[in-house]
Symmetry: none
Subunit: 356 residues, 2 copies
């Protein structure tokens, strides 16, 4: 069954990104969002049009965990959506809560697109947020086939890879793959935050990667961790136990070489088991670096020149040199325009180079 | 004192990258490496020429922690290097060991470029590996001024930011910022590696980031962790304690909402204290987002307008939605010009918003 019109309840990061992805595939998207600022931004991004009593083939409830049951009830009572799904990252408890609250569980299929960013809100939305990412579907015995099909089609239209699994197994896996890492990332960043500034200056890229998740929204994550508390507690307890073993080894000054290489090797093996990033199509852009002076109008001069050469800029990155009167700008353009851009820039007197 | 000729002992990732960076700056680089394959590769990459009895202004010993003292002794006995430094990521113990072994500590300055990759060896070397990264120097009371100056110049020639700190404070900071994160990354990856394949398919980008370090070399990291065992054990014990508190909260089913948001918020705060990448000085820019159409000339129109308002753009970031007709651009400007820019943009008809 094709989805020709989809309703999105909640125009935050996930809802707005779904809207953008669906509209790109020609689907009519109608949006409902309580926060007028979020709604305005989502509409400005063309993530959909306001939902004004339209019937939809499927509605996706893209609100924080604590709000799902309420929004689902409202939606189902309106009778506007043939089927519905959600996007929350905890599944077993919310499914039980929805059933207990009197939701129609035959037309609802639990869903969880495993994609996100540290930044939330429509502001951070991207049409390709789900491209090549898993989109978990957790139908139960009472879920109707129509709801499963619609939720699967939704995931596929967003470019994601639908994966079916039970709510319980989902929650166990997510405790290890997402919820505990979030907690650890936050604890490590908090620990670093207590270092004096002179020590903090020693931070490297490894720490930034490990703590990227620490930028996440506290309210949202408190809800997620609480909703999956049993599984998270169990995964965290296992980690704490393993960590305690390592600490004991390290603290034993008589032991000349504790078996730390085994711990690192076990990590190698675990990492090697992670599935390949499937379905992601790497960009084949040409990247050209340009040296620019740090003064008003310099970027305008550059971009005006590039526009005159009729070259579309796909991406821009700035690299700053501390205290330097110039910076480096990296322009990404279609692969076949790279040489063109480089020649134009050099002829026009810019210092430019091909990035590899 | 300029460095006109530098000796590099050990042509792995760090040594070869130093060679490449120095040669790019016109320095004569001579290499010594026990492994003939590594040496051949480093020479092929033009990281330097074979070290054949040449006297050098400075020599950098770029070998694993356990090999530093031996190589330093050999180097100093040869009398070929005026001063020397190393690159190991643990400092206090190795400095003591070097002194105990009879190394000349007046001409040696401890060093640690905080840069690396999961891949080791000359094959992974890059001339820009150290660009904009901290390069820690740990002189002690007995370190001569000439050695400190030479090591500082070395760091600067490699494009890094020299930071001076005592060996002890270095090791305390690195336990938190590097060694414990490595351990945790490995433990999390190992834990995930025990999941059945169907569950592992749910893995997302967040987990990949947190466990990127898990690909590190077990032998090298066992040496590093062992060399800093006291500090790592202490940081790990603190983390285990905090984790145990969270587990206790989560496991307490009577507590409807454990204070998890505080844990996440503390992580937010810690992350916010990390220095900016470029200059390691936190920028106090105002950030303004603008919605732009994906077509030639649109960026030129925007930057021309901003230049006309006489506002200097400090940084630019583009967020792309692949295949979407719109993108978002984030402009960073001086803090006091943020409101100004926002008003100008809105008056001129752009959809703009303040980034927080």
């Amino acid at each position: 069954m094709p989805l020709t019109r989809v309703g999105v309840v909640g125009a935050g990061l996930i809802g707005s990104s779904i809207g953008l992805a669906l509209r790109h595939r020609g689907v009519d998207v109608v949006l409902r969002e309580r926060d007028p600022d979020q709604l305005r931004l989502a509409l400005a991004l063309h993530a959909g049009r306001p939902w004004d009593g339209d019937r939809v083939d499927h509605a996706v409830v893209a609100v924080p965990p604590d709000a799902v049951v309420g929004e689902l009830l409202t939606l189902q009572r309106s009778g506007l959506a043939a089927t519905a799904s959600d996007v929350t990252s905890v599944k077993a408890g919310p499914v039980e809560a929805a059933a207990a609250a009197g939701c129609d569980m035959a037309t609802f299929c639990g869903g969880h697109p495993v994609a996100g960013r540290e930044r939330g809100g429509a502001i951070a939305a991207r049409a390709d947020l789900f491209a090549g990412r898993p989109w978990v579907l957790t139908p139960t015995d009472v879920t109707g086939a129509e709801a499963v099909t619609a939720a699967t089609t939704l995931a596929e239209l967003c470019g994601a890879l639908p994966v079916q699994i039970s709510p319980d197994r989902h929650d166990t896996a997510m405790a290890v793959l997402s919820h505990l890492p979030q907690l650890i990332s936050s604890l490590l960043a908090a620990e670093a935050g207590e270092l004096p500034e002179a020590e903090l200056a020693l931070v490297g890229q490894g720490f930034r990667d490990v703590t990227r998740l620490a930028g996440s929204d506290p309210r949202l994550w408190a809800q997620i961790l609480t909703a999956n508390r049993r599984e998270v507690a169990s995964a965290a307890a296992r980690l704490a136990q393993r960590l305690a073993l390592v600490v004991a080894d390290l603290a034993d000054a008589d032991d000349p070489a504790p078996p730390l290489s085994e711990v690192i090797a076990a990590g190698n093996a675990g990492q090697a088991r992670l599935p390949d990033k499937a379905g992601l199509v790497p960009h084949v852009w040409a990247r050209v670096g340009v040296v620019v002076r740090d003064r008003p109008g310099e970027l305008a001069r550059l971009f005006t020149a590039v526009a005159e050469w009729d070259i579309n800029i796909e991406d821009v990155a700035v690299e700053h040199s501390r205290n330097a009167p110039f910076g480096r700008l990296e322009l990404a353009v279609a692969a076949e325009r790279g040489d063109d851009l480089l020649q134009h820039l050099e002829s026009a007197g810019w210092t430019a180079y091909r990035r590899t």
